[in-house]
Symmetry: C3
Subunit: 63 residues, 3 copies
């Protein structure tokens, strides 16, 4: 590998290690589609009697 | 900073400035889970009597 | 274009060609907000009598 490619790869490694998971959407039990995201890391379902929640995440660069 | 690292950083800055927010998911009032995204930037909830909608966005590179 | 910029651009092209679509959220008919993602590429709505499902995707680098 030539020095330039090496520098590029190192930069990519560096950036990749700073990735973290971000919430992209939530799902809830009992057909509930009303939710919000708290503290950027928790799905909160707003209907009464909730038994489960689920989350979709993608690994993105933290802002 | 050596010239190669400088070139890499400039390219990253350039790319970062072209990022824009993309809708990754929507949520609706009244437990409604039926929605669509209009014009790539608006959450439209399809149930009757909607009072609010919410959106999750991530900053991504525009296509 | 100088050789360094060329190397950077080639690397970006390379990375871009390895992007693939990832599910970021799902939506379902009949107001249903309960869903899961199967095999990383299919929205499955969990309510009875489902007639349609929708998906939001973003183009991201495959893990």
């Amino acid at each position: 590998l030539c020095p330039v490619d090496k520098a590029i790869n190192e930069k990519i490694q560096e950036d990749t290690s700073s990735l973290s998971f971000a919430v992209t959407g939530c799902t809830c039990g009992s057909a509930c589609g009303s939710w919000d995201v708290r503290a950027e890391n928790t799905c909160h379902c707003q209907c009464a009697g909730m038994d489960w929640t689920g989350v979709r995440c993608c690994r993105l660069q933290a802002a």
